[in-house]
């Protein structure tokens, strides 16, 4: 099974790629035209249809290996190409599932407004959700660096309003900080794209891969684009915007932001290094990116350990889990060939992205329900929670199993693949970081669970009721994260991983 296909073939079924982007766009335009009352309905109807489109693409990729499309019939370099490979398909389906879960969960907070003049938050939420979905789909299938820039900007403009839907000063501040980071990130990315175009005359990923030479313009471009994308992905030490933004947003929005939005820019980093500039990677640069990842894992986990509020803890855990994604770069670097190769490490990174998406969405949603029930999210006041809110807590714990990397979860499979890549390539120091990160993650999650299992300091009569269906959504996502290990590990067995390496090399 190849993770990255090397040739564009505008094959049958390529139209689904356009549908994956245009469908949420049409839904969001209808929502704007129809107003808040209409927006919630359009959104709910769009979710299953979008999921169906994602599944259709995954099916097409499974059959044909790759789907491609030339928008407007114009071939690159003049036109824009779209393409889906296994990597894209996995992310498209994950996004559709998490977005559907978030939408379902949000129906309570952002349902059709009751009074005619209201609906500010409802309209904002649904339009942003649909916009973020369209942007992510474009980020996963876009093959033109400027088209991907548009995807990044769409994602920013959809994500920032989600942060401050409640209009309080702290969330407004978090949103503005996020916006500024994101804008600087995309302007650096754009600068890199300018330099690549100036040196090589194309922005198409496939064409660039054939013409890029290791020369100053390419290095400068790669450095600028990577720096910009890292700021948008909130990789340590550019993570400062993330915790306040993700912790302050409404739970359904936090779930989308933490589980999906940061993956959009990460995915473009992958595309950039693996597809567009594979020959440009050097051992030193890859070790440096890995070092930042390791810093994120250790620093994020250590800070999560010190948080007294649950939502901030979950947000810092995102900072740490993003770190694992970037270990792919040193682990996938083949020193003898002097280039990145698609193999075990990339498979591990993909699985980490997917399982973290499910687990983190589940965590933010259950944290939101806990906060609703208790009226606060201070961990020290969690006594008696296990008895009062067992389902929410179970969802939280199951998601935690995947984050820590216990078998049989998706997180376990991901970390297992990363560990075996570290062993294979003899880079034992990353293995130490992975294990240490797992221990720290376990520590901060166990602290929360122990609090919740304690007897309450005061009687828990003041708990507010939470509808059972709302608790079911995070539970289902957390179960997915756990079961992913059983389903997801099969095609990515170490044997299959080496098979992917062989396949990737055969193409080069």
């Amino acid at each position: 099974m190849t993770l990255l296909a090397e040739t564009v073939a505008p094959a049958a079924g390529g139209g689904w790629l356009v549908a994956a982007i245009i469908f949420p766009v049409v839904a969001l335009l209808l929502a704007v035209a129809g107003g808040a009352r209409f927006a919630a309905r359009v959104g709910v109807l769009a979710l299953p249809a979008g999921l169906a489109i994602a599944v259709a693409i995954a099916d097409g990729v499974a059959k044909h290996g790759v789907l491609g499309y030339y928008v407007g019939g114009w071939a690159p370099p003049l036109g824009i190409a779209l393409r889906a490979d296994v990597l894209s398909a996995a992310m498209l389906v994950t996004t559709a599932i998490v977005a559907s879960g978030a939408g379902l969960y949000a129906l309570h907070d952002f349902g059709p407004p009751r009074e005619p003049g209201g609906g500010r938050q409802t309209l904002g939420f649904w339009v942003s959700l649909l916009g973020a979905w369209a942007a992510l789909n474009l980020a996963f299938v876009g093959r033109d660096l400027f088209n991907l820039y548009v995807a990044l900007e769409l994602l920013t403009f959809a994500a920032v309003p989600l942060v401050c839907l409640d209009g309080r000063a702290p969330t407004l501040q978090a949103a503005l900080r996020y916006l500024l980071y994101a804008l600087v990130g995309s302007v650096l990315y754009l600068l890199g794209a300018v330099l690549l175009y100036g040196a090589f005359g194309t922005l198409d990923v496939e064409l660039l891969a054939t013409v890029v030479r290791p020369e100053p313009a390419a290095w400068a471009a790669a450095a600028l684009m990577t720096a910009g994308l890292l700021a948008k992905t909130a990789l340590f030490p550019l993570h400062l915007w993330l915790p306040p933004a993700h912790a302050g947003a409404p739970p359904a929005a936090s779930a989308v932001l933490s589980a999906l939005v940061v993956k959009g820019s990460f995915f473009i980093v992958l595309r950039l290094w693996f597809d567009a500039l594979p020959g440009l990677a050097t051992a030193m640069a890859m070790q440096f990116i890995g070092l930042l990842g390791a810093g994120a894992i250790l620093y994020g986990s250590a800070l999560a350990l010190r948080q007294s509020r649950l939502k901030l803890l979950v947000a810092y855990s995102t900072v740490a889990q993003i770190g694992y994604l970037f270990l792919v770069f040193p682990l996938a670097f083949d020193a003898s060939a002097g280039r990145l190769v698609a193999g075990t490490a990339l498979a591990g990174g993909l699985l980490q992205a997917v399982s973290h998406a499910f687990a983190k969405a589940a965590m933010f949603m259950s944290a939101g329900l806990v906060a609703v029930a208790l009226g606060h999210d201070r961990i020290e006041g969690f006594g008696g929670l296990a008895r009062a809110r067992p389902v929410s807590l179970l969802a939280f714990a199951l998601a935690g199993v995947s984050l820590v990397g216990l078998p049989p979860s998706g997180g376990f499979a991901a970390k297992w693949l990363l560990l075996s890549a570290a062993v294979e390539s003899g880079q034992w120091w990353w293995a130490v970081v992975i294990v240490l990160g797992g221990l720290l993650t376990g520590a901060y999650l166990i602290l929360v669970l122990m609090r919740a299992l304690q007897e309450p300091a005061a009687p828990t009569a003041s708990l507010r009721p939470v509808a059972a269906w709302r608790e079911a959504v995070p539970l289902a996502l957390a179960l997915l994260a756990v079961l992913l290990g059983l389903a997801g590990l099969a095609p990515f067995q170490p044997g299959a991983g080496t098979g992917a390496v062989a396949a990737a090399e055969a193409f080069q």
Partner: protein
Amino acid sequence: MSFELSYELLVGLLVLTAAAWSVAARDTYSATVGFVSYGLLIAIMWMQLQAFDVALAEVAIGSGLTGLLLLSAAARLRAAEARVTSRPPVMLRIVAALACTAVSVSIAATVLRLPESAPSLAGAAVGALPATGLGNPVNGVLMAFRAFDTLLEKVVLVLSLVGVWSLAPEPGWSGRPRLLHPFADDGVLRFLARTLPPIGLLFGAHLMWNGADEPGGAFQGATVLAAMWLLVLMAGLGEAPRIRERWLRVAVVAGPMTFITVGLAGIGVAGAFLAYPEPHAKSLILFVELPMMLTIALVLALLVAGPPEPTAGP
């Protein structure tokens, strides 16, 4: 040639002075005025680069609409900004200056060392242009070869408008933006708002229509229209719309919706999303550009106006 160069050198120096001023000025308001002048000067630079379409966009957006947006924000923030007296420590500023210089120098070095035989898609664009029926290659890129980007960029505009709207304070939601609250004793402004818009309307339409073959286009035309509409509203000659009004919302999505409809029709008629059947390409593009101009003009004006707020003040 050397005369030309000294003219360009002068413009370049002016641009850098205005830029440095808008960063270095102590008072934010004067920095903003500096930035507006910068927008004018950079447009002259674009003209020297022979990029007239960009120059038009830059003049309209950079100096006009952004100027209005930033100046009114600076006025409202004046007191709060003046209270900020703390500046970062000198060491930090020196480090930042060194780092930024290093970035500038390395970018400059990279640009200067680009290959002498610059790669270009100009030939390809000109070669494919007859299929679009257009005479302006920039518009060909925007409306045909990279129409997908152009369509999605309109969605960016709509998303940011909804983002701005969602910032409205709860009681003011579905009210009118503050910039458009009627403003006292405006005889002079009213005079301008009665006389200038006819010229602007005509000229905006000219820019769009002309854009098919000459520099210009829907976006540049829309900016002029947006400015005229804002002028009428600011002078109190027209009623600023409330955002709950249906016609406004429909108009906001009309452009991208038409674009998508024509694009989807392209699948059946021309074999791909956003492809135009060759004999009708130009008329289809103009058909798309008309509602797009309306949408862009509305959205730009509403973005400048800001979120609706409960009526207060005079």
